[in-house]
Amino acid sequence: MIADEATFARLMASAQNGDKAGYNVLLSEAGMWLERYFRRRVPPHQLDDLVQDVLMALHAKRATYDPARPFLPWLAAIARYRWVDHLRKVYKHEAQEIEDDDAIEDSDEEVTLARVSLERLFGHLNEKQAAVIEMVKIEGLSIREASERTGQSESLVKVNIHRGLKKLATLVEEAE
């Protein structure tokens, strides 16, 4: 069972004063809470890395916790920030790939990531962007195949993927 809000807040306040034993418990419990938080947001194989990343951020920014306020919203805000940063890096990497290489080699990892990250946000894209992102980033077609299937030029496919991914990143960043 994961600690409750009051326990988290008490442990964090004592950690700010240097209580190592309490801090150890806090980090372990926060790790479990974060696993649950990220479970539906990132592919399973990236979960532990992201949890560790947030725990390190928690450690580095522990002076910003105000004991007069609840702990979990503070932790959730850090987790969301690190998650968005993680997505930004993924999208940047994907966009770079499109610019660098016409024939994209899709790995299972990228396909899974694209599906998990994009699924709920696809409704915000226009049809052309959603179609080419789905074909290239999820189904694994090449730019040329997507171009033939949609009737869009290869350049337009690239532009639509680039703009679509950028819009998705913005949507994720703006979401509260």
Binding site: A15, Q16, N17, G18, K20, Y23, N24, L27, S28, G31, D48, D49, V51, Q52, L55, M56, A57, H59, A60, K61, R62, A63, T64, Y65, D66, P67, R69, P73, W74, L75, A76, A77, I78, R80, Y81, E176
Partner: protein, 222 residues
């Protein structure tokens, strides 16, 4: 090679030291102090305009500087609150304050145009358009310079904190630096016509807001 989570937690625990809490109050004091320093620097260079207490200042002087103060306070309050991770409603006071301040240059331009349209050009008195004070752009540059101290203080505080809305923090830093910098310089400026103060004392706010939006995010990302 990826490390085990338990090992990482043990490492962080070992590394734990007591910390001094970062509070919004620290940030507000730092920005307030920077404004004070900026004001003192302006006075030492340009001299305090005593005329404002001798009944010489126009209403525009008080209204514009009052609005700059309000915008500076609203931006600083939102900025220091946003330096700590939190979820929930955001203050929109800076946006409304900036919009209200935006009315001043609009009023200035409308005044210049309407005066020009009805001015008797055969008289010896120049219209607002030909008044040297209207074109004294240097005030904008000086006020912009005065904002740099506030800007640095705000960035310094944000780096101590953990802002989670980076772009918003950038805008707020720019608005605070522009408004408080212009206010700090403004107390030395005797040119108080709507045409002068409404344009050249508000311009630095716009300029700093744009600088803040683009220059601050890379400086405070964590």
């Amino acid at each position: 090679m990826p490390i085990n989570r338990e090992d990482m937690i043990a490492g962080l625990t070992e590394d734990l030291e007591p910390v001094r809490r970062v509070t919004p109050r620290d940030g507000a004091l730092l920005v307030g102090f920077a404004t004070l320093v900026s004001g003192i620097a302006s006075i030492s260079i340009f001299e305090f305009w005593t005329g404002m207490f001798a009944g010489e200042a126009s209403a525009f002087f008080w209204i514009t500087n009052g609005m700059l103060l309000l915008l500076g306070a609203a931006s600083t309050t939102a900025l220091v609150a946003g330096a700590l991770p939190r979820v929930g409603a955001r203050a929109n006071a800076p946006g409304w304050s900036a919009a209200m301040l935006g009315l001043i240059p609009v009023a200035a331009i409308l005044t210049i145009l309407s005066v020009e349209a009805t001015h008797d050009h055969s008289s010896d008195v120049p219209s607002l358009l030909y008044d040297p004070a209207t074109w004294y752009w240097e005030c904008g540059a000086y006020a912009f310079g005065a904002g740099a101290i506030v800007f640095l203080a705000a960035v310094m505080f944000l780096r101590q904190g953990a802002p989670v809305s980076i772009e918003r923090s950038g805008w707020l830093t720019g608005l605070a630096a522009g408004a408080l910098g212009s206010l700090a310089y403004g107390i030395t400026c005797p040119l108080d016509s709507i045409a002068h103060i409404g344009i050249w004392h508000v311009m630095p706010v716009v300029a700093w807001a744009v600088v803040g939006r683009f220059a601050v995010p890379p400086l405070i990302r964590w």
